[in-house]
Amino acid sequence: MKSRINKPWRTFIPHPSVLVLALVVGLVLLYGVVYPNMHVLTASLERDGAWTLRNYVELLRERAVLEATLSSIWLSVLTVLFCALVGVPLAFLFERYEFPARRIFSILASLPLVLPPLVGTVAFIFLCGESGILARAVQHLFRLRDAPWSLRGWTALLLFHTYTMYPFFYVLTGAGLRRIDASLGEAARSLGARPLRVLFRVVLPQLTPSLLAAALLTSMTSMASFSAPLFFGGGVRVLTLEIFNARQRGDVQLALTETVLLAVISLGALVFFQRYEGTRRFVAAAMKGAPRRRRPIRSGAARFAAATCGVVFTTLLALPVVTLLIVSFARQGSWTTEMLPSAYTVDNYARIFTEEDALSVLFNSLEMACIAALLALAWSLCVASLVSRRGLKGRRVISLLVLVPWALPGTVVAVSIAEAYGQPNPMTGSFILVGTFWILPVIYFLRFMPLVVRAVQASLEQMDPALEEAAAGLGARPLRRFLRVRLPLIWPGALAGTLLAFVIALGEYVASVLVYVPRNRPVSIAIAAEMRDFNLGTAAAYGMLLIALIAVSMTIAARLERVSKA
């Protein structure tokens, strides 16, 4: 009896394509996610051919490692705190009040989300560094002999992290606020609750899922942060940097063990937040409710204050990008002790477009990001159609495994792939990925495919399952159902997700720096190299080109998003 009930291919339309799909998905997950991570784990537990925990004992005895671990965790905690302090009030301001130019500011406020971390780091150095525009301005204003500050250490890291990661809180809190049924607040008010009580007893409890999600994203991004500690971390040791340094020194064993440590901490954060979320129950806001209207700020002074806040804030947000733009036009060597570069030229851009080596890095990045994004799109359609099958065993396992590369810091993904496909072994035969062009597209694919899978799944969830059932009832075979019903309905969302993955892969630095080869040298590596050689203008020009590409892609993605919501 029981065995007859549990045959999944009987619950919907039995089709051999399901088996093929399951095989493909299974193999990719096995070789892309399970095997590399298991390889790193077993390697970290091995010493001279025997199983041992000695690597870990030695690791944790080292002060430097312990310090790096604690720094990473502290940095994450403080980053979450600061980002919440900036992002949550901002979301309330933009969601609850109407004031001049609110829409433009609200869009600009999420800008740092799409800025590649490395480009952001570079722009930050130009703006706030000890020889940056702000420092020079203060120096000139007060006629100081030396730079008024140096951009190093904790302050610099926290400032930069807050700037780049507060949008997680801003965007998710805003979305959460929009979902809350306004009549709940009205009911509370009618029961005699004062506004503050409504905020703490009604609004914030409902916002908890959004806040938790934002805290999770922020802490994981902070944990994975690499370029900021590398360029202006000063004496602050963090785990990502330690892993990189250990590999550069050739201490593979140490790098592996530290990688496992970082992975465990990251996954720990994921489990912690999801557990916490699971212990509370939230009412779905699916019921009909009154949409909340934004309250216009009527008093002249308050209007002025809000608009001023908006302008100041937007300027602050735009400043790094503006700085990058200015520097990208600076003549080489024309910016030493002045506040702004003294001579301007288009040479920096001309150099990128005329020198073959300089141009090829752009094409490398474009090519690899394209490959990774398209692979991710195809892959997501496979995973989504498999996982959306009701009654299929192992759906949860597949969903979980797909998310693993997203939860792991880029450093961990790169190290695990590099180690697992570095030399011939029983799992991979003589297949070696390290040192070939393909290692970066593969890593980009693994790192960013979860974004596309989630986008496709979100689109599928919005789709009424009765649509495909109706198509089946009308006589449409599985292939026709996929092409004529499912694909047209999910493609805007799927494409928007693909573009996002493409954009992030375009400026990827963390993983690239560990495994790139001359043949696939991406633009991020070129930027870092130009910075090292003090070709600030060229580095900035690369950054601006990336930003331009990203801006175009994101505009298209936003259009598509609107189409898919309509």
């Binding site: 089946a472 006589g475 075979r477």
Partner: protein, 366 residues
Amino acid sequence: MSFLSLQNISKRYGATRAVADVSLEVEAGEFFGLLGPSGCGKTTTLRMVAGLETPDDGKIELGGRGITRLPADRRGFGMVFQSYALFPHLNVFENVAFGLRARHIEAVEVTRRVTEALSMVSLSGYERRSVDALSGGQQQRVAIARAISIEPQLLLFDEPLSNLDVALREETRTELRELVKRLKLTALYVTHDQEEAFALCDRISVMSEGSILQTGTPRELYEQPEEVRVARFLGRNNLIEAVRLSATHAEASMFRTTTGGHHLLRVATKVGVNLPLNKPCTLAIRPEHLQLYRKTEPEESAPSGTQSENTLPASISFVSFSGATTTIRLEAAGLSLEALVLQPDGFEPGASVTVRLPPERITILK
């Protein structure tokens, strides 16, 4: 040999039994209803007929041919969903044409049949509209046109009217029955609305907790419910706990109510169940069948002779006016009864009345 036959169908979801051992026979050209509260398994049964779920046990046959495991896209049944499930990326024409295109029918024929289907639901001229631009009632009719365009052997409805407002629902109901009858289609219709099922269906199966309680025509179900659950579900009913007193003959037997101790005579209209003596059972009588007499009325109009059987003195506890009818709640020595009257004059809360339970209107429930 019936047209559609379900034989001992069962379906489980994990530990819950959605459908347990359901059997039913639908004749060709019949408008058949599955009626029951939400969660009773009626939609699951319909989905198994549609091929969207596979039964764990049992057989489904169509015209004598087993179709239990045939995929939905090879059954050729038209289905109308509760959410209508119109394809939002296709216009009205393409929605209706979807099933025809899946059959690779040539373009001219597709146009002809879509036009015909749309005219049948009076939506001619709406071909190029986007489905989002239609009202709920129009979307509903597109869904019906789409289902009949493929000339289905069987038409399946999953609560198709529940998203419409009351007035439109009653109007669409009449049109739907006329359309199905005119096209001589066989239909299986799932609903939780008793009035809707009665108005639409030739025969109905009442379902509860995954099984069929009773199958019959609307009048049979309403007037001779066999079970407490059926009596409760189909409109309002006075359920009276009682014990049978005499076994003189099954057609006219005497009962004593558990509360109030009233003696009630029941006259069976058809040969029914013969209950053992002194065993508790449940009697049912519809509120509209209770006869109420005002105490102030002259003697001669009060029941007398054979008419005086089953009369109880009662007092009115509650009066609820709802337009055409008025509901009056009564207390007769602890026994609560509900009566439906057309003329509420003189019935005030607290007033004393005489209530009569006509013996031929009382049914015995299992």
